[in-house]
């Protein structure tokens, strides 16, 4: 089933779809309810009971009531509609419960029981059984092996993550979706402590049905959800994830992703933990950048951004005002601003003069920005408040950050009042979490870096949201012409350089002027025709890395071409006796001020991606690359190019000029279309792409086709929109 089909699976309730019945139920049953509070069935029931105001049905084989609520011996005994069935019975008993739920037209089930796919073998088979039952019946499933979910807005505490005796979380605008139940609970606890309004928390566990992406897709449409936090190890349903990201962009709801399993040791742990391949974290990061998803550097970073985004504020620019009573803190905050891509502009003299009027006289501080009031400001109680309110109105700044001690209640009240009155984002650096500040929704941080970094994230959300990624139309005629150039994959999967270049030329990519010659004498004739300094290359289907086998001569002039070609063929015959040489490629040498590499590779999760990196002698050492998932438009390609080497590729002295930027963007667009139109291509490596005088020319190219078998499976990676096109 494609991702789209998964979502379209029919529910049997005509008024509300199954996913809504599961996550915002009007009636709930708990199968495996217990009167013993410490047990999971007890915790779940206590949690459900304290929050839900609809019909709640504990199911227990023998007890007549659970915590004072009449109990039923089975789901069937209830005799009334059930939207959500929470299942906390031993693994072997789960299939029968799901069968029963299916027969009763339950909307969805949450299975918290462990011992399924995470154990492999029999557990995996058991999981497949319940997934199949649920799928056939159109019953949605969360879990198994999860900690449940919480929808505070709907009064649904279907989890044993939050202690039933802890206060009910505030029904705020933040939704958290975590694959891991235990770590998700940890994040949820820290989120609530940090002051986030965690209105939703869903742990997806083994994801027999509902994945993180599916859950996000549902939540992004909920009006009460303003910010989405996602903690994943394995991203299932990549197309849905991208669709969700596009919806989130359209609705201006930030998604913040924390991806675990990046390193080798961690990926091994994730594999053993989730039993699924995680794909490349670098590709996921690139996809997030392309679709405007914020990637968190740490759990703390995710919560920090969530706190800022929950304010709902956006910024009109990147100009930050810093107000402290300590010059040192102001300097450090200014450093952090630079790191976060914000500016700390010097205030115009007339604005400084206006601020000075609020200060005690004579004033020893600095009002240029960072504003340093010094401890002097204490001597005039209203001075700090007046300064902050006046500065907030400044047309020279877009956002503010300031510092306070947690004991300074009056000062904190002023800051909260300012934040509530101002449309401009404000972050507060404070020595401790202050409940009334958190309750008022003013973002408070304990470290200067964190206080400023979140404003940088807010600026990205406000000012850098990418437009929806639309590629150029698919050209099936061109694809057919290109396909006719490809060899039969049953014979070979590697194209020779000149074949790859012809394919490139078909896609409008600039390549070196070149002729294929059969003999050294023909090579000399071709050299005279092309003229200038030339490269000679031995073409052979057995020689993808020809320079390693003496198969390349550079800087050859026409008068020496025949001799050099003969010498090269002799070298190849000696160094690579197995290689059958098809001809000698005679090629112009193009000038380069900058060398890049470009290509296509395939990710296990996201399918084909276009890669652009720095090239030249240091290509192996630099390992600096950006990626784009097709389809994408010129703006996205330009943005990716601009992010290479932190933008120095363009802004450095002797960096790319405007015409060269256009040329590279064009190259990326062509590769993107090639990846979409020719799914049989497994890998493309154009290296080097030589750039000078406004042109980008591919001087060597390696194209590898998928074997017949790989091609079949990779065709399934193509998105429905691509297939329609």
């Amino acid at each position: 089933m494609s991702d789209a089909e998964i979502l379209d699976a029919p529910g049997r309730d005509m008024t509300r779809d199954a996913m809504t019945r599961l996550l915002s139920p009007r009636s709930i049953a708990l199968v495996g309810a217990s009167n013993q509070l410490p047990r999971i069935g007890g915790q779940l029931f206590a949690n459900l009971k304290r929050a839900f105001d609809g019909p709640l049905y504990p199911v227990h084989p023998s007890d007549a009531e659970i915590m004072g609520v009449p109990a039923f011996a089975s789901l069937t005994e209830i005799g009334a509609p059930v939207d959500l069935a929470v299942v906390a019975v031993p693994g072997h008993a789960v299939p029968a419960v799901i069968e029963e739920a299916a027969a009763l037209n339950v909307g969805g089930a949450v299975v918290v029981t462990s011992g399924f796919a995470e154990m492999g073998g029999e557990g995996a088979a058991l999981q497949e059984r319940i997934a199949t039952i649920a799928r056939r019946a159109g019953v949605r499933l969360i879990g198994p092996n999860c900690i449940g979910f919480m929808n505070v807005h709907g009064g649904v505490m279907a989890n044993f993550s939050i202690d039933p005796s802890a206060p009910l979380p505030r029904a705020g605008g933040v939704a958290l979706v975590s694959q891991s139940g235990g770590f998700g609970s940890y994040i949820a606890a820290m989120a609530i402590k940090a002051g986030l309004g965690l209105g939703w928390f869903v742990s997806t566990g083994n994801e027999a049905d509902m994945s993180v992406a599916m859950t996000l897709r549902h939540l992004v449409e909920q009006p009460e959800v303003k910010v989405l936090l996602a903690a994943v190890e394995t991203l299932r349903h990549p197309e849905l994830f991208i669709e969700t990201a596009e919806r989130a962009l359209a609705l201006d709801k930030p998604i913040i992703l924390l991806k675990a399993g990046r390193s080798g040791d961690a990926a091994r742990a994730a594999l053993s933990h989730t039993g699924a391949i995680a794909g490349s974290a670098e590709v996921l990061d690139a996809v997030c950048a392309q679709y405007g998803v914020h990637v968190a550097a740490s759990m703390q970073d995710m919560l920090d951004m969530g706190l800022m985004f929950e304010t709902g504020k956006r910024t009109a620019g990147r100009r930050l005002a810093i107000v402290t009573s300590s010059g040192g803190a102001g300097v450090l905050l200014a450093d952090e601003a630079a790191r976060a891509g914000l500016s700390v502009p010097e205030l115009p003299q007339e604005e400084q003069d206006a601020l000075l009027a609020e200060m005690p006289q004579p004033f020893y501080g600095n009002l240029s920005n960072p504003v340093d009031t010094t401890a002097q400001v204490m001597s005039k109680p209203e001075a700090m408040g007046n300064l902050l309110f006046r500065l907030e109105r400044s047309p020279s700044i877009d956002m503010m950050t300031t510092v306070a001690w947690e004991q300074a209640a009056t000062h904190l009240e002023v800051i909260v009042a300012l934040d509530q009155r101002s449309p401009k984002p404000l972050s507060l650096l404070c020595t401790g979490i202050v409940p009334f500040v958190s309750e008022a929704g003013t973002p408070l941080y304990l470290d200067p870096g964190r206080a400023v970094r979140t404003l940088g994230a807010l600026a990205r959300q406000s000012l850098d949201r990418p437009a929806p990624c639309r590629g150029e139309p698919i050209d099936m005629t061109r694809a057919a012409r290109a396909r006719a150039m490809l060899p039969d994959v049953a014979e070979r999967t590697v194209l020779m350089e000149h074949e790859g270049k012809r394919l490139f030329a078909e896609y409008g990519i600039g390549v070196t002027q070149e002729r294929l010659a059969a003999t050294p004498a023909q090579a000399a004739a071709a050299a005279r025709e092309i003229g200038g300094s030339l490269a000679l290359k031995a073409m052979s289907v057995n020689l993808p890395h020809k320079s390693d086998a003496g198969g390349v001569r550079l800087g050859v002039t026409a008068d020496r071409a025949e001799e050099e070609a003969a010498a090269m063929l002799a070298d190849v015959a000696r160094l690579a006796p197995q290689a059958q040489v098809e001809g000698i490629l005679v090629q112009e040498m193009v000038p380069a001020r900058i060398e890049l590499t470009a290509g296509i590779k395939r990710d296990e999760v996201f399918g084909p991606v276009v890669v652009l990196g720095l090239g030249g002698l240091l290509v192996e050492i630099l390992a600096d690359a950006v990626m784009l998932r097709p389809p994408f438009d010129r703006a996205a390609a330009r943005k990716a190019l601009e992010s290479l080497s932190d933008g120095r590729i363009i802004h450095a002295r002797r960096g790319l000029d405007a015409q060269e930027v256009d040329a590279v963007v064009g190259l990326l667009m062509s590769l993107g279309q090639m990846a979409r139109e020719l799914p049989e291509i497994a890998e493309v490596d154009a290296n080097p792409v030589r750039i000078a005088h406004g042109r980008a020319v591919v001087a060597d190219a390696l194209v590898i086709l998928a074997s017949a078998e790989d091609a079949r499976s990779s065709a399934m990676d193509i998105t429905p929109s691509e297939r329609r096109a």
Copy 2:
């Protein structure tokens, strides 16, 4: 005065030096004491009174006693020896107090008053006055414009940073020195909240006498100090800083530096705040790397490391055990381990079997490492403790990290007991700060990244401490020979390429084989002599960037040399008519697999530094460089080289081989000696350094001499040891 002379300034107390009398006083006077607690003079006195058990003398013009302690009208009236005078009187009254202190042979004074050099003009003059008085009398000075200092071990609370009503900080092994008083107070407050044992806190303010470096130099020798935290904007006394770093390495006391004023906006703010030039943050970072000083990425990072280092534990290796009851948290911790340079090795099967015996059966988790007990572990109360204690004894791991909820008191007690029994470092990820854990000294963090990053820092301190930096002996004969090659700086300061190369050759640096020819005909003769493919370059004192003016021809063979040389001279005459060409440099073209750049530049604070960067076409774009401050040895040079491009310069496919590494290290050593022996050199730029076949050859070089005036001032940057040599 040199830094060394500053330290040697005589005190008049023969038994204890002035700095010890200042920082560990046996008697204290407070000039400007007040009975009004909210005033600075009140806060200072209340703080002093509550902690100090020696004689304490409040000085007040009229009050007979201050907070119940008999007061004196002046320092002179006291009539008893005073080690420390704390001064909190208005600025204009400070010089007379310092005069009086000098006359009375006070050890040192802390001046908290503001309105001195930070205001420029009159304030700066006032500061110079008190500095001069103190210097002449051998009275040490902290401040002015500071918040005082605290030595909890000595019972000295000479500050208004800590509230007199707050508990006295724990007399632990952590010392904090901060230039900024306000930000220093903030850091101190956060340190105490995080559980650090802050035994010392000194704010140096305007540094009229005592700088951060001087203070650190004193504190590193104090036996009770185990960890030094430093927050600086401007680093004064760079030699003392390096000497301190070397002492800290010898004593294995980590120094953690937080540098503010890195960005342009921040440096502007720092300049206006401290009135001093900050030097390059990149050079400071490089010096810290060279001398084993930990550079903190943020305030929080500094405190995180301080908490870990305060344990006094060191590690024997980088193998981390991760124990969680949530697979997801384990995966994220493993990611952080990889980022921190730690490994998370899979445990041998027999160790896993031994752990399995402790677990509830059947066990659904994973014991390979990360160890994931799953929530199952709750069902057997002693299981987690047994597992942790058994794992701690594993010969396969060097350090541990684990997770706990702050409510889980029993679990936390087990972890604390384990930490106290084990020599292996342990960090704890917890949902909140738990007082008994902090008091026990177990490092506790609220974010997975922070919990693991500090173990990485501990591994650096344990395993990567550099040896003292000793260069090769200074060779004055070579220096004299080299100096004879240099032009008179009154005439010109830029060397032509062939002159620079001769200087390089004198220092044993590999350069291209080349001849200077006077005419195109001579150039052809030189070309025949050298043979092969050649470069021709126009040499002119007016043409430092010769390729921009058509003054370079590449790939020329002997038979075309005369013609090409003539054409080049014609181009130069047309494009740079002002340039007087001295000759044509005929040069071999050397092969390169990798191109680097190397050179010497001067930092305002640290003097000459050797720079090594990636080169080639992308040199402007890469901006990746490492730096070394001479003197340094081959091990330091090799370590710097290895850190270029995160080590890929060596470890990437086709990276430098062992012979090439030696060649580059040799180049760096030669540049280091050149910088020391020829202080008249302002700048050296060897670009490119072409590397292949085991050789590193400088193919072009720019050498710039300091003008007569600059040379005089730069000679003062040379360290005493260099001058002695």
